[in-house]
């Protein structure tokens, strides 16, 4: 938010001096006002002096709206200060407020009560970044996708960075066995705000959810063993409900569903619903007083048939207060109904209380302790100290419904290791793991013009004393092998024979331009790139670069690194320790530095001159490469030990300067990408292109190229430069100077724009690998096309149409190919006009279609 206003050139000056309600009150007191009232806009939203319930309800008719958390976050960041001189207040006072100043003080004491104490830090976070910045928010659903005690969790649906999702992410503790995991089929329509509930017998039930707030779903799906099948529809469409597994007589397992919205502006009025596999859905009768209808409540299961319920939002947009126990009542002849009992076990005077009832919180359990995680409260944005609350109670004696339980609620302040970002606990999901930990997945919010924030990793929340066995991470599935059209397959699926990248020399900008136009990799020999070629060695760096400088390096346990598997860690090290690890032949030398910006690594691309001023002077581009200087994107420094760089492509053009040591690079032309397991939208491949010798681990790796590909091999020695055209996939392995020694390499590469700036995606591109704008937009369009067919079109029709569209696209791609081949080498890229010229006239294509029928 602050960045947003700064970007607009209208920084918020006073917010730093008066950051809180209390500070604003003191500001106006100091200026001489005697009556001061400060409210956030979120407070005013529920304040009858400003908006009546009917006013709020009337808004439902204006626009289907369900972004409540985002709205609450936004409105919590604005305040209205009413300050008045004199003694008779001219404004209606907030109900129940005493003298405004003292009431502000008392409110303050409530808000600042129980600050985090070191002794309350029983828990800690372990954070793992997702590959490719993957993120999903808006209430995806978490569930265990495999029976038994394996540590795997799935997150289905939600909204991704572009679009609502029908996919499932798998998270697992590193090294977990993923075989047998079953995720919901992709043809379950993309949705958010649904539930997936694990029953006692290992089945999972997926219930309802929504597309847009006005398009709720009624369908339900059951996963038994390895299959998902559609089961009874809900009696009405439903989203933002809560669900809990229950046990029914005769070894039957069912789900109780509480609350939710049945449409854009209607809250589910029924006390609860029950589903079981034999009878389908039934509305549960309330056996005592029923809580007010609500959605997004916290509905906790504590035992086979009972639990707790609190929070949630009423029809008119206010977060409910009060605390309830629930129990599914069984009778001799089946299910009698659901009993809610209002509990007084919660001390409403403690500081935590205002933050207890929430909308959109998740919950989890570690042993017998319940954790309420995130969401928003009636007071709006939940302060960091109160984000996670712990509840301990006499839950075991809870069977006795008539007796009040003992309950202790306290704040939880998880220890954040260095570099662990704070999770935005909005629209997230959490689930317990088998090893008594909790995984927090997904989450993020869009705050109108301020833009969107996504959690791009997972947080494992665990008991410090019990310790952490293995970190968890998002596991990218092996992408399915893309379908190759028969003609292309027949022509190109011959066994991949590798060719050697040829050497050339560049004496002038004209030579370099020719190289760019040819768009084929070439080794550029004997370029004058300054004294670095004679000066730079790992030991030289040790003597000129501050030993205490911290660097973040890729650190692997073997020579192979795979970005999709994430079988390496980002480790922070002192520079001198890093160099020592690189040159000392130990098992720790599987380590690699790809430098990032020293000032702003998340926003600014690497630049040798500003990031490494001590050595930057030693490296310079000759004037024949002026084109690079003029179109420079970034210039990272690369220092590597005995480790391979995974197969990936860059979107910027690239010249790679090998300065010290030797390296083998394998490159594949862009047309090979479809055979190299690049998932849609990913610039990294999941396959390992190099294979280590099993008998001699120090021997150089051999190349394993997939069938039908055309690998190009480039062996680079000190002083060699390699031109890598955009979209040429490449991977690298270091070469030891003599057998048995540890390879160490130093290189600088320069990324530069070879196309006009408008072709690149707008916005941030720190690594030079953001796909072209047309591709990013195209993927959105593809998703839109698929969605239009998914909704209300029979599957066989939808499938056929989508395949026809795919063929049409394949045809267009083939036309481009022909143009390239016809024009011969040397015209690639430039030469879209050539491509369209060679295309058969549209009319004749259509005509031939008619005649052939």
């Amino acid at each position: 938010m602050m960045k947003h206003f700064e970007k607009l050139g209208t920084p918020l000056h006073s917010v730093l001096k008066y950051p809180s309600d209390h500070a604003q009150t003191q500001r106006f007191m100091a200026a001489g006002y005697s009556n001061i009232e400060v409210n956030s806009l979120w407070d005013l939203w529920s304040d009858p002096r400003f908006l009546s319930p009917s006013c709020r309800l009337a808004l439902d008719e204006v626009e289907p709206f369900d972004e409540w958390e985002d709205f609450a976050l936004f409105a919590s960041h604005y305040c209205l200060v009413i300050a008045q001189t004199g003694y008779n207040t001219l404004f209606p006072q907030e109900r129940g407020r005493r003298d405004s100043v003292t009431s502000v003080e008392s409110e303050l004491s409530a808000r600042t009560a129980s600050p985090p104490r070191p002794e309350s830090q029983w828990f800690a976070y372990r954070y793992t970044q997702n590959p490719d910045g993957e993120a999903r928010a808006h209430h995806a659903s978490a569930f265990p996708p495999v029976e038994g005690s394996r540590d795997v969790l799935a997150l289905h649906g939600g909204i991704g960075s572009q679009i609502r999702l029908s996919t499932t992410n798998l998270y697992a503790s590193i090294g977990s066995d993923l075989t047998g995991t079953t995720t919901p089929p992709r043809d379950i329509a993309a949705r958010s705000c649904h539930t997936v509930t694990a029953l006692e017998n290992g089945w999972n039930v997926l219930i309802g959810g929504r597309a847009s707030p006005a398009a709720p779903f009624q369908d339900c799906w059951l996963q038994k063993n390895s299959t998902w099948e559609r089961v009874h529809d809900l009696p009405y469409p439903l989203y933002r409900h809560r669900a809990a597994a229950v046990s029914l007589p005769n070894d039957t397992y069912g789900v109780v569903v509480f609350g939710g919205k049945t449409g854009a502006s209607r809250v589910n009025p029924d006390p609860a619903l029950l589903w079981d596999p034999n009878n389908g859905w039934q509305v549960l009768r309330s056996l005592r007083q029923a809580p007010k209808p609500r959605f997004g409540a916290t509905f906790i299961r504590l035992g086979f048939n009972h639990g707790l319920m609190f929070g949630g939002m009423r029809q008119d947009g206010i977060i409910c207060q009060g605390f309830w126990r629930w129990r599914l009542m069984l009778s001799s002849d089946g299910v009698a109904g659901i009993k809610f009992i209002k509990s007084t076990a919660l001390d409403t005077t403690v500081g935590i209380y205002p933050w207890f009832n929430r909308l959109g919180a998740s919950y989890s359990m570690i042993r017998n302790e319940v954790f309420i995680i995130g969401g928003i409260a009636k007071q709006g944005c939940i302060p960091k100290d109160y984000e996670i609350l712990s509840m301990l109670g006499s839950f075991s004696a809870f069977g006795d419904q008539e007796r009040e339980m003992d309950l202790r609620v306290s704040v939880v302040d998880p220890l954040m290791p260095p570099n662990c970002p704070r999770p935005l606990l909005i629209g997230h999901s959490s689930h317990r793991t088998h090893k008594e930990m909790t995984l927090i997945m997904g989450g993020g919010a869009t705050c109108f013009s301020f833009g969107t924030y996504w959690n791009t990793g997972v947080w494992l929340f665990y008991d410090k004393e019990a310790g952490l066995s293995k970190p968890w991470a998002l596991i990218k599935p092996e992408p399915p092998v893309p379908r190759v059209t028969d003609a292309v397959a027949a022509r190109e699926c011959a066994p991949g024979t590798s060719s050697i990248v040829q050497k050339t020399t560049i004496a002038s900008p004209t030579d370099f331009d020719a190289l760019l136009q040819a768009s084929k990799p070439k080794i550029i020999a004997s370029l004058d790139i300054g004294p670095c070629t004679s000066l730079w060695t790992p030991n030289h760096f040790k003597s000129v670069i501050a030993p205490t400088r911290c660097v973040i390096v890729h650190s692997a346990t073997s020579r192979s690194m795979n970005f999709q598997r994430k079988d390496f860690a980002y480790t922070k090290m002192r520079f001198d320790d890093f160099i020592t690890s690189v040159i000392t032949p130990t098992n720790d030398s599987h380590i690699y530095l790809r430098s990032i910006s020293s000032s702003n690594p998340t926003a600014t691309p690497a630049n040798l001159s500003t990031d490494w001023p001590e050595i930057a002077e030693d490296f310079r581009l000759p004037s024949s490469l002026d084109f690079i200087t003029q179109n420079l994107h970034s210039s990272p420094l690369r220092i590597g030990g005995d480790v391979n760089m995974w197969l990936h492509y860059d979107v910027m053009a690239n010249v790679y300067f090998q300065v010290y040591g030797s390296k083998k690079l394998v490159l594949f032309p862009p047309s090979d990408l479809i055979r190299l397991s690049f998932a849609p939208g990913s610039t990294t491949s999941s396959i390992d292109i190099f294979s280590s010798s099993v008998s001699d681990r120090s021997a150089a790796d051999t190349l394993v190229s997939p069938t039908g590909t055309s690998p190009h091999i480039a062996t680079l020695g000190p002083g060699d430069a390699l031109f890598i055209p955009p979209l040429w996939a490449h991977a690298a392995t270091p070469l030891a100077s003599k057998p048995g020694t540890t390879p160490a390499t130093i290189a600088v590469n320069v990324f530069f724009r070879s196309l006009s700036a408008a072709k690149y995606a707008a916005g941030r591109d720190v690594y030079g690998n953001r796909d072209l704008a047309a591709y990013e937009d195209g993927r959105r369009d593809v998703e839109k096309m698929a969605r239009r067919f998914a909704d209300g079109v029979p599957r066989d029709m939808a499938k056929t149409y989508l395949q026809r569209l795919a063929d049409e696209l394949a045809q267009k791609a083939a036309e481009m190919n022909t143009a390239d081949e016809e024009a011969g080498p040397g015209s690639a890229g430039a030469h879209a006009p050539a491509a369209s010229a060679s295309k058969p006239p549209k009319a004749s294509m259509d005509a031939s279609k008619y005649y052939s029928q």
Binding site: T10, H13, Q24, F28, G32, L80, A83, T85, N88, L90
Partner: protein, 171 residues
């Protein structure tokens, strides 16, 4: 809403300082003229902006028709419009001395209640200037010691709260 329920508050001038053309005066004048009969809205903004605003008002019959008894504005070039219901004044809010002089030339400050409304202006001003403006507002009329002469400042520290307060936004 509290403006409606407390009629006595609305007896006297409103000071409305805002950067964008704030629709509040015209909304109230159009919605409940009776309630506004003893009130005067004074709109203060940078000179260039208030000129634009004046031009918009004069070019918009729906707004112009709400204003009566247009006074001569030649007495000070910073007073761009002065009617019974509404005045448009160009002034840098950092200059409270000048601000007070201009206010006094369009309203009988000492005989009325003053309600100040500031949104983005106070938010975007440098903190010292904003604090000085807030403190200055407590000195507006001499009725400090009389309960019946109360001055009121309402500050909405926000660029958009007028959506909540007044319904629609004209920008």
């Amino acid at each position: 809403m509290w403006l409606v329920s407390k009629d006595e508050v609305v007896e006297d001038p409103f000071t409305n300082a805002n950067i964008h053309s704030d629709p509040i005066p015209f909304q109230w004048l159009a919605r409940d003229r009776q309630l506004c009969q003893n009130a005067k809205f004074i709109d203060i903004d940078y000179e260039a902006l208030i000129m634009t605003k004046r031009d918009i008002i004069q070019a918009t019959p729906k707004m112009r028709e709400l204003l009566t008894k247009c006074s001569d504005t030649n007495r000070d070039p910073s007073i761009l419009l002065d009617t019974k219901e509404y005045a448009a004044v160009g002034c840098d809010l950092r200059n409270t001395k000048r601000l007070e002089r201009l206010l006094r030339s369009v309203a009988e400050l000492d005989d009325c209640l003053v309600l100040c409304v500031a949104e983005v202006s106070i938010t975007y001003m440098h903190t010292d200037a904003a604090d000085a403006l807030i403190a200055w507002a407590t000195t507006l009329s001499p009725g400090t010691y009389h309960d019946d002469k109360v001055r009121v400042t309402r500050e909405a520290d926000c660029g958009r709260c007028h959506i909540l307060l007044a319904g629609t936004e004209i920008t």
